[in-house]
Amino acid sequence: MTYSIIGRCARTGRLGLGITTFSLAVGGRCEGIAANVGVCKTQAFPNRTNDPLGIKLLAEGFLPARVMQMFAENDTEHDYRQIAIMDREGRVAAHTGSGTRGWSGHRIDADCVAFGNGLVGPQVLAGLISGFQAKPDDPLEYRLMLALEVGRDAGGQGDAQSHKPERSAAIKIVDRLDYPDIDVRVDVHPTAVEELRRMLEEFKLYEVFYRERGRNPSQAIPQDVFVTNLKARRAHGTSASKSPP
């Protein structure tokens, strides 16, 4: 039981993945994302070799649809996997195996694929997509975050009798470079989507500071000074993220 969305920002070419699940530490199993290559995520009963393999095949120039065919040929348990693939041009392929459990499915929309299993129903996928498409001008990380929240509010995981809590969640974004641009995680938490929102908002306050102090160390203020300034700005009710670094 998991619900996820992979997406691409058509303006910037940034690629991203948002995911939440009952399982612990799901963000530690999301290595299938590479700048200027694509996104590949296998879930349900995951074959962990799929995602690194998928990224290599996309980098060689194979289309997502062909990569999916190769997955099927390379894996005797393909029927138990749920997979979404997107390349850097936004072309996609998706597969929901018949052996995945509970209500299970995927849905393709502009610049995204929503997919999940063990869900209360198709309304969760509709929620993921409406959240993603609600604010198309927002940075990709916020679009993925909103997607997860609307997916959760549409019922998330479980069935008519019981809701399964989201115990871990992650958002990962790549942007041209070979290390992640954004990579926020909640590994063990009773309400992981809420906690992920808190984490993302907090990280966004530090994002520029962290990047610039690495690039221009001689100009960087100590972090405890930065944090003190942050607290002062918060006390004055000004938005720290819009202040100069």
Binding site: L24, G28, E31, E77, G99, V188, R213, S218, D224
Partner: protein, 237 residues
């Protein structure tokens, strides 16, 4: 302000990192592990291109010492970096740039580097190394975690106004595969090392289950069944 153990397990060939810091989301920067290539970490003022470059050089066959030199030659701000590199022979080399802040230093031993900056003193790095070596027969990931706890207990990081808490932490291990064997994080917490221990112990209960259900889906019990069994086992103890 960060303290770290980077290591290669001589028994298994696994490479791993344990890290804790006042900064949030430190796991974002821990992308310097690759199966059968080696391990690299740059901290203090991070050059985010370093880890990938180091792994590419290690994979090509350069020694750890040579890789650290290349990272320095390639970076006009190298004096602000703190770097550790371990190659697949277990040679471990570190560099603590003179412009990293506070007490800053490292200890490179056989197959490991303990390092940190803005620390309470050299005893923190010594404690991290000793923590790693305390129980050599334990699993590699437990040894990494123990070393970070030892760094915390030895006083950890200090800022302008005294002790700085660990707000994020991570524990990552690569083995034979090109995906992580273990990748656990605490991104934002008042006591991130304590929380990392809690997460680790919880995740350990599930680890085999998660691995096997992917490999043998047909035989996998649903996770809620697995969880109720777990709860019954715990209640019985």
């Amino acid at each position: 302000m960060t303290f770290t153990l980077l290591a290669r397990c001589p028994r298994s060939g696994q490479v791993g990192i344990g890290i804790a810091t006042y900064s949030i989301c430190v796991g974002l920067y821990c992308n310097g592990l690759r199966s059968n290539a080696g391990a690299a970490m740059t901290q203090a003022f991070v050059n985010q291109g370093n880890n990938t470059l180091a792994l590419n050089l290690l994979a090509q066959g350069f020694t750890a010492a040579r890789v650290v030199d290349e990272l320095k030659f390639n970076d006009p701000n190298s004096e602000y970096r703190q770097i550790a590199v371990i190659d697949r022979s277990g040679h471990a080399v570190a560099y603590s740039g003179p412009k990293t802040r506070g007490w800053s230093g490292h200890k490179a031993g056989d197959g490991y580097v303990a390092m940190g900056n803005m620390l309470a003193g050299p005893h923190v790095v010594e404690a991290i190394a000793a923590g790693y070596q305390a129980k050599p027969d334990e699993s590699f990931e437990r040894r990494l975690l123990r070393s970070i706890e030892a760094g915390r207990d030895a006083g950890g990081q200090v800022g302008n106004e005294g002790h700085l808490t660990e707000r994020s932490a991570a524990l990552v291990v690569y083995g034979a595969y090109d995906y992580a064997e273990l990748d656990l994080r605490v991104d934002l917490h008042d006591k991130a090392v304590d929380e990392l221990r809690r997460s680790f112990e919880e995740y350990e209960l599930y680890r085999g289950y998660y691995r096997d259900r992917g490999k043998n889906p047909k035989d996998a019990v649903p996770q809620d069944v697995f969880v109720s069994r777990l709860e019954r086992t715990e209640a019985a103890q």
